[in-house]
């Protein structure tokens, strides 16, 4: 009203720099700043969970931010607790939900992602490529390196396993967790072990840990599928050789989703008080295009991926999920 742009706070329950999830969200906010003329501020809450609640309350209580963006399932209960106290503040919760039945959360909009659909496509691609027999030294094995066995990552994995089995029945799917989002050395060690067991392609769902997986792929001369943002783009300039080893990345377009939500909010059309589920159909999940690796993938495999994508969008294929009660 006073002519200054509305201020948006983005509360990170951790730190930026994960190369995937939070960084992608931060990108979305920067985009919003440019496109929607909002003033945004990103606050890193650090890794101590006892400080998140007070951090969130502090933002809401300050009165400076009419809108607060935050993410992950971990923050769901906190938003649920804080939001009713601050009805004038709008909360956008991504990749997490509040229980609308149990709280007066009319000021909360939450969105969840059907990452299992992306995982499925990754599985089809990986298994198809391995079965095509063009990867030197690979056996009938694909791998997955996860950061931690949390539901979101298990969801990727569930889709990945199903996709691999559907594309290449009987293929072995290795799955292992590094127990950390930020230990690339361990990621590399695990990936080396999986490549050593003949994995042709590894899907890494491990945040910064995954960078070790990508290095291992380069060293082993095998392939890797990135996650959350286009990770080939990250290396395209700095180490092109590495970029060619990244077949694609399963995009979880948190940035686009947040941008969309903020735009809707500006237009007064944000569906507050409910959860939206976003997947392939909504364009929130997808595969990144990596021209360097495109030559590696035979047309038949590409066709299979495209077909699977279409069936999911059409609703003729339901991908298994790791979330209890199924993905909405």
């Amino acid at each position: 009203a006073d002519g200054r742009p509305p201020r948006v706070a983005f509360f990170v329950n951790g730190a930026l720099g994960d190369k995937s999830f939070f960084d992608s969200a931060a990108r979305g906010l920067r985009q919003a700043e440019a496109d929607l003329h909002l003033a945004t501020r990103t606050i890193e809450g650090g890794y101590d969970p006892t400080r998140w609640e007070s951090g969130l309350v502090d933002l809401a209580d300050s009165g400076d931010f009419p809108i607060i963006v935050t993410g992950t399932y971990t923050m769901g209960p906190l938003v649920q607790k804080v939001a009713p106290d601050y009805p004038d503040v709008t909360f956008i919760l991504f990749d997490g939900v509040v229980d609308y039945a149990r709280c007066a959360c009319g000021n909360v909009y939450s969105m969840r992602f059907r990452q299992n659909e992306g995982g499925y496509l990754a599985g089809v691609l990986a298994a198809g490529l391995v079965r095509a027999g063009t990867i030197f030294g690979a056996k009938d094995v694909v791998g997955l390196v996860g950061a931690m066995p949390i539901p979101v990552i298990n969801d990727f994995a569930a889709g990945y396993g199903a996709g691999a089995q559907d594309a290449a029945p009987g293929i072995a799917v290795l799955r292992q967790f590094a127990n950390s989002f930020s230990d690339p050395a361990t990621g590399k060690e695990i990936a080396k072990a999986q490549y050593g067991q003949g994995a042709g392609v590894i899907f890494q769902v491990a945040g910064a840990t995954g960078q070790g997986v990508i290095e291992a792929a380069e060293e082993a001369g095998r392939y890797v599928i990135g996650v959350d943002s286009d990770q080939a783009a990250l290396y395209r300039a700095s180490s092109p050789r590495r970029a060619t080893r990244i077949l694609t990345s399963v995009m979880k377009n948190v940035d686009a989703a947040i941008l969309r939500a903020l735009r809707l909010w500006q237009q007064g059309r944000l569906p507050l008080g409910r959860t939206e589920s976003l997947g392939l159909k909504e364009g929130a999940i997808g595969l990144a295009d990596n021209p360097e690796a495109a030559l590696t993938v035979p047309p038949t495999v590409r066709a299979a991926v495209a077909a699977a994508r279409q069936r999911i969008i059409d609703g003729t294929l339901t991908v298994p999920t790791a979330f209890a009660g199924g993905q909405p």
Binding site: A15, I43, E44, G46, Y47, D48, P49, T50, R51, E53, S54, G55, V57, D58, L59, D61, S62, G63, T72, Y73, T74, G76, P77, D85, G96, V97, M148, P149, I150, P151, V152, N179, F323, A324, G325
Partner: protein
């Protein structure tokens, strides 16, 4: 050193650290003054007068965060400080805290909505922390295993046990992240101040410090711990049960770390996520050493240190100063405050400069 001189020394050190921190801020920030103000006044609530003349208190939450932080720090500081009296350098507060939190949550979830849940969870946390501390104590007294190593290693074990139990036994599959179900209301503490996380635990911390002080000054066990720390060979010849006192010092320290775990689980988070408060034990060491091993000074050191931590967070939230600068300033304060000779050196230098200026023949 007398308390007032010690106070002056600390003030000087903190001042120097802040000055250096300001220089760092000026390099990375467009609004160094605002940042500096946020750092210094951050933990205090802001009092405004609304249009209708009513007084509105904003940001009480920061004040709460300060007290909450000081509570945890006092408790982990005690966990380090007690074994320290027996000249044992325990780094084990982390592990004991995890065990305490785990025990408190397990008991709370097991008992459910019963009135006994709260006291029993409190007790369980204390016992679990003490037990985990006692392990390190017995390893030291029975096997002479270096306590720095064993406590570090026991921390790793405790964290993994914690993750195993939270992830595979207590896990709430409907949560969407790895966590226990919410603890029953009967087992948790309600905030004393609305919209903050300040609970009755804020009173427990000073009581704990007084109890520790009483234990050390007034009980035979405390005397034994002091003597075992000051000169174990002498203590043994004098007939003091040194091994028992040393092991108990670890266990008693563990009680406080366990209570810090209770604070985290049943007062702050009210459920336990798989990743918990990393490295708080190290902060406990810092607080214990800032207090120079004096238990009575511990709550003060904790309050001071927590003030700066919360001020730093406030600075980060309200200005463009990034999180890492906060870490840098925190590190500078630690370094400067423990540098005993810094103040005398600086004063001596100043004096020399002054005499060299004033002493020159006119």
């Amino acid at each position: 050193m007398t308390p007032s001189r010690e106070g002056a020394r600390i003030a000087l050190a903190v001042g120097a650290a802040l000055a250096l921190g300001f220089a760092v801020m000026a390099c990375v920030s467009d609004q160094p003054w605002a940042a500096f103000r946020a750092l210094l006044t951050g933990p205090l609530p802001s009092v405004d007068r609304a249009a209708d003349g009513q007084v509105v208190v904003h940001r009480l939450v920061r004040f709460g965060a300060w007290l909450q932080d000081a509570t945890t720090l006092t408790l982990v500081g005690l966990a380090i400080g007690l074994p320290f009296r027996a000249r044992q350098f325990s780094l084990g507060a982390d592990g004991q805290l995890f065990m305490g939190a785990l025990a408190a949550a397990t008991v709370s979830l097991g008992l459910g909505e019963t009135p006994t849940a709260l006291p029993l969870a409190f007790l369980a946390a204390a016992v679990a922390g003490a037990g985990w501390g006692l392990v390190a104590g017995l390893l030291k007294t029975r096997f002479e295993a270096n306590e720095i190593v064993t406590t570090l290693m026991l921390n790793v074990v405790a964290v993994q046990v914690y993750r195993l139990v939270v992830g595979r036994v207590l896990n709430d599959p409907t949560a969407g992240f790895i966590t226990t179900p919410p603890l029953p209301d009967a087992a948790t503490l309600a905030p004393l101040i609305a919209r903050t996380t300040v609970t009755a635990m804020v009173l427990v911390a000073p009581v704990a410090a007084v109890a520790a002080l009483f234990l050390l000054r007034r009980t035979t066990l405390g005397y034994e711990i002091d003597l075992a720390g000051a000169n174990p060979w002498f203590a043994i010849r004098a007939g003091v049960p040194v091994a028992r006192a040393t092991a108990l010092a670890f266990a008693l320290g563990g009680v406080f770390a366990g209570l810090a775990g209770f604070h985290v689980s049943n007062a702050l988070l009210k459920r336990l996520p798989i990743d918990l408060t990393p490295g708080i034990g190290l902060e406990g060491i810092v607080v214990a050493l800032l207090a120079r091993g004096r238990v009575g000074a511990l709550p003060l050191a904790a309050l001071g240190y927590a003030y700066l931590r919360v001020g730093a967070q406030a600075m980060e939230r309200t200005t463009d100063v990034p999180r890492e600068v906060v870490l840098v300033i925190q590190a500078l304060i630690i370094l400067f405050v423990v540098s005993d000779r810094l103040a005398p050196l600086a004063l001596g230098l100043m004096r020399r400069v002054r005499t060299s200026i004033g002493g020159r023949p006119a």
